[in-house]
Amino acid sequence: MASIRALIVDDSSVMRKIVERCLRQAGVELSTVYEASNGAEGLAIVGSNQVDLILSDINMPVMDGLEFVKNLQAAANAKGVPIVMITTEGGEAQVTQALTLGARGYIRKPFTPDQVKQHVVPLL
């Protein structure tokens, strides 16, 4: 697996670190990890950096994860980039909405490192 650039969007810095650790435990080689605490920060990062994987929370201040994914459709650097939502909000309607907007996977918190591996690695 080639080294990748990942963007992790979550308003919890602790959760961002956990997600990064799970990716490394899954054998994902990370050349760069960009972190954003909300969707607006995530969009700014994608606007000026090429990334290979995006993992995003949904319930965040300023811009939530669904709005973030919706806005990513217009970002040239996000074309074809797999997006996986990681969130406490695991209702079917939200899952469907996220997938319709372009997310490729959905992980509900709390999660295990194996779940991150199962949902992310096949997309890389």
């Binding site: 308003d11 919890s12 810095s13 602790v14 959760m15 670190k17 956990i18 650790r21 319930n59 965040m60 201040p61 969130t87 406490t88 909000e89 695991g90 209702g91 079917e92 309607a93 509900r108 918190k109 709390p110 999660f111 295990t112």
Partner: protein, 166 residues
């Protein structure tokens, strides 16, 4: 035999025993998976120790109320350190422990509503708020039902409370 207490709560039926079990199971799973330690329920330990760090998440929609997770700052620091898998930073540690407890509260709330039929789709969560200090009172402006339980994490009490607006 104790009668089952039921109250109609904004479209859901509040069943004390069932919801109390769901709340404990939600908290236990969050600690098991995200903190990496098991917790045990021990409600009579609730009054022990300082509980000066409180995380809160609001619930709105089919269920309106607030879920709080309350513990000592040292327990919150231990939780954060376990979640991060490393000691807390000397400068960022204070923020990390608040962040970690807020996220625990958020996940317990999300996991709880996923265990109650009909709530997953129709109940939304706020982003977490964390309060430090013990000298405050929280007063709901509506009649409410209250569930409270205590779990022991590293032999220290963690109080989990759900107040539901009737």
């Amino acid at each position: 035999m104790t009668p089952v207490m039921t109250t109609r709560v904004a479209g859901s039926t509040f069943q004390r025993d069932e919801w109390s079990s769901a709340l404990y199971e939600a908290a236990a799973e969050v600690f098991e998976l995200m903190v990496g330690e098991s917790v045990s329920r021990q409600d009579d330990a609730a009054a022990d120790g300082a509980n000066d760090t409180t995380a809160m998440v609001g619930l709105a929609g089919a269920l309106c109320g607030v879920l709080t997770v309350r513990c000592s700052a040292s327990s919150a620091a231990a939780i954060a350190s376990k979640m991060l898998g490393e000691p807390l930073g000397s400068t960022s540690g204070a923020d990390q422990l608040l962040d970690a407890l807020g996220e625990i509260c958020n996940m317990v709330a999300g996991n709880f509503k996923a265990r109650i039929a009909g709530l997953q789709e129709k109940c939304m969560l706020s982003v977490p708020t964390v309060i430090t200090g013990e000298d405050y009172s929280l007063r709901s402006l509506a009649d409410n039902e209250r569930l409270e339980l205590c779990v022991l994490f590293q032999n220290q009490p963690i109080l989990v409370r759900l107040e539901v607006h009737a």
